[in-house]
């Protein structure tokens, strides 16, 4: 018997909302939205955790400029609090190295992290998901009872095709879908919104393509003044 599986629910019992930022497709802004959303919620004085579950390409620490911190060992591990966010990522253990592992190892690592991390009381735990709907998505659905999915798409037809598969998969598994955010919006076409609404899923709003995004990657203060943050703040009331 695996002693870790049972304890996961206890580790999360004082977390009010678990939100997995997903989408299926790669490079659509999942990590940017997850990190920035955590930052914006913490600015609004919510108690926020951010869990980067992209073990092949962890990014949240880069976007928020988090470095030089490490969890404390205390009857498990306590995630360090940075900018008011309790932050947990595989980078603490993998450092900058590539992680050459298969699905079973990803699954075991996720279980281990969830079993030993003490989040304590949180209003939101934001989870940055990797691309795809494989191991990590299945484990999040299996292990995190009550998790809600926040799905990201872009105005691309190619992206939407995969996003639709993600939505379908989540619906079939009866996993709550908070809604879809359209990221990297370049014009005011309503095509994506219409497509999403035919799926009977809430269109939460859009985030414009921000040409200066690269300038504020890793710099929280610049990020907070960006149009990206402005757009995210507009979406937050729709998450209820």
């Amino acid at each position: 018997m695996d002693p870790r599986l049972n304890i996961i629910a206890h580790r999360l019992e004082n977390v009010d909302r678990l939100i997995a930022v997903s989408g299926g497709k790669g490079g659509i802004g999942k990590s940017s939205v997850a990190s920035t959303l955590a930052l914006c919620l913490s600015k609004k004085n919510y108690r926020v955790g951010l869990l980067d579950l992209d073990f092949y390409g962890p990014s949240c620490h880069l976007i928020l400029g988090i470095k030089g911190v490490y969890p404390e060992e205390e009857r498990g591990i306590l995630p360090p609090q940075v900018y008011g966010i309790k932050f947990m990522s595989i980078v603490y253990y993998a450092k900058e190295n590539p992680l050459t592992v298969r699905g079973i190892d990803i699954s075991n690592s996720i279980i281990e992290l969830l079993a030993i991390t003490r989040w304590e009381e949180l209003d939101f735990l934001i989870i940055d998901m990797p691309p795809g709907i494989g191991d990590t998505t299945l484990d999040v659905i299996r292990l995190l009872k009550g998790v809600e999915f926040l799905v990201i798409t872009t105005p691309s037809k190619v992206v939407l095709e995969t996003v639709k598969k993600t939505l379908e998969m989540l619906k079939e598994a009866h996993v709550p879908i908070l809604g879809v955010i359209e990221n990297m919006k370049l014009n005011n076409s309503s095509w994506t919104r219409q497509e999403i609404e035919t799926f009977d899923v809430k269109y939460l709003g859009e985030i414009g393509f921000d040409r200066s995004f690269e300038d504020f990657v890793g710099d929280r203060n610049k990020l907070l003044k960006s149009s990206f943050v402005e757009d995210i703040n507009k979406l937050i009331p729709n998450l209820d």
Binding site: M1, D2, P3, R4, L5, N6, I7, H10, E73, E74, R75, G76, I77, I90, Y93, A94, K95, N97, P98, L99, T100, V101, R102, I104, D105, I106, N108, S109, E112, L113, A115, I116, R118
Partner: protein, 136 residues
């Protein structure tokens, strides 16, 4: 002392099993400690004893530990090796990362046969409950 978190997992699982099987007393729990995770048995025992204090079903429980060597097998050339043979080549930080997440061994170890990191952890990964015995 992250052993504590895993010890909580053992106790929690045992309590769950005792409820399912309607056990009033737990006589023995056999715990396998896989070498890869390098759990400190003394710390683990201490944590177990502290955690069970308020729970009556554990009054007479014996916790038995069985150590299991960690065996790894390369997916590319099928070479098998033991973690113990490689431990001396690892520094403290690497050992600690593997202690927290045993899968980090893929970063800090390679197949001694062909140098690949594509290997599987055949056995001896971490903490496992081998058996739970008790009385109704």
């Amino acid at each position: 002392m992250h052993e504590w978190a895993l010890a909580e997992g053992v106790i929690d699982t045992t309590v769950k099993v005792s409820r399912e099987k309607k056990l009033k007393e737990i006589s023995r729990v056999v715990i396998t400690l896989g070498e890869l995770q390098q759990i400190d048995e003394e710390i683990f025992k201490f944590a177990l004893r502290e955690i069970i204090k308020p729970t009556s079903i554990f009054k007479k429980t014996e916790f038995k530990f069985e150590k299991e060597k960690a065996v790894l097998r390369c997916k590319v050339c099928t070479t098998e090796w033991e973690f113990g043979d490689m431990l001396c080549g690892l520094d403290d930080v690497e050992v600690e990362s593997i202690h927290f997440i045993p899968e980090m061994s893929h970063i800090y170890m390679k197949c001694p046969g062909c140098g690949s990191r594509d290997f599987e952890i055949v056995k001896g990964r971490g903490v496992w409950i081998a058996s739970i015995e008790g009385m109704e």
